[in-house]
Subunit: 231 residues, 2 copies
């Protein structure tokens, strides 16, 4: 498999900034179909549009819950998940309540995630839980991973890309070590080049969230050498 | 009325960053009670806490809807509003769907706001509509104001503070000119000093959103001269 396709299949092609229009969404769907990205990830209002554009392709529709602050009522996160699934989403990324994690209220964090997991897994939908690693201490990162796995998350993920901090190899290695081989690790936040994407995969990431997916694939095609999926 | 209290009564004392903990929320409630801010504005998970802390005081509990990206399903925004009101919120700030405004889908923007207005006004709750002015052209700012007023918003507001751009005197004057005297104008985003707050009020703002409310009040007390409510 060429590096281009190998790396593309790991990328969530992501378009979440508030200023994006339906025309931008069409563009990223076309890019995703051309390059074979894993998913297109957009805000809820654009989900019907991507579901239509990606129909009968292997590219999945993805969206977000409790985004970008993670501090919604759990009941709202569950309702967001339900409506996204109804609209055709197959994968979603939720932000856990970072302030409660930092305060050590692990029970509330667990309940928040577990309720959304319940809404997803009954429908075969994959749930990724964002830690917002840039705001957490080492202990909080570890606790966040353990709680997310215990609550049934399919992936743990580094950052929203909207707060301080970005994905680092150190954090990816830590997260992979904690969640083990059966749970996914998604590197997101500041992954804008093939070099960075390859570093993330080498460190243990099984998915990349990026707005620069096309650049990453193009750079990977131009480079000889290691296949990131083999490292 | 001293400048300190006069300006304090115009300030939404705001704590929305994801990393804040219940201890931070207690601190801002104490500050609000001490200085007499208009509201304390926090994320939904902290609303029960502020409602309890602010009980039987003139300081109102406030929160946010469709925040920080504005691109939730309208039905979710309505459900967020309903649950916030149920929890005791008396004012809320919602972000309109910026991408749809930029795309000229005015009908969708109107419907989005009007549905949340409907949830609020039946309960005597004030709704402020954020334009995210830093991302808009002059034409889009004007359209956003007109649509928000037509849909029944109680205030129009400049920025979330989480995207590019901040409140400017030029934008506040524009917004005040469009919405007229009967609708509020809230300056938020980058208002961190008494000098800036006074400039906003002079330009026509009737409310200030700030995390630095205590600093603003302290600076105003130390300064002789103009009363912002008289300018």
């Amino acid at each position: 498999m060429p590096h281009g396709e190998a790396i593309a299949s790991l990328i969530d092609h992501t378009l979440l900034r508030t200023e994006y229009t339906p025309a931008d969404v069409d563009r990223v769907c076309a890019e995703a179909l051309e390059h074979g990205f894993a998913t297109v990830c957009v805000n809820p209002i654009y989900v019907p549009q991507i579901v239509e554009r990606l129909e009968s392709s292997p590219v999945k529709a993805a969206s977000v819950v409790g985004f970008t602050l993670g501090a919604e009522f759990t009941a709202i996160k569950v309702e967001q998940a339900r409506r996204l699934i109804e609209a055709g989403v197959e994968e979603m990324d939720m932000l856990l309540p970072v302030g409660l994690l930092r305060a050590g209220d692990y029970r509330a964090v667990f309940e928040d995630i577990a309720q959304v997991v319940k809404a997803c897994h009954g429908q075969g939908v994959i749930l990724k839980v964002i830690l917002e690693t840039g705001l957490l201490s080492l202990e909080e990162k570890i606790a966040g991973c353990l709680i997310a796995v215990k609550a049934g998350a399919d992936y743990v993920k580094t950052c929203t890309g909207f707060a301080i901090g970005e994905a680092t190899a150190e954090d990816i290695m830590l997260m992979r070590r904690i969640v083990g081989p059966a749970v996914g690790v998604k590197a997101a936040g500041g992954v804008r080049s093939w070099e960075k994407a390859r570093l993330m995969v080498s460190a243990g990431a099984s998915r990349i969230g990026a707005t620069q997916g096309v650049v990453i694939v193009q750079q990977s095609v131009h480079e000889a050498g290691s296949d990131p999926t083999q490292s």
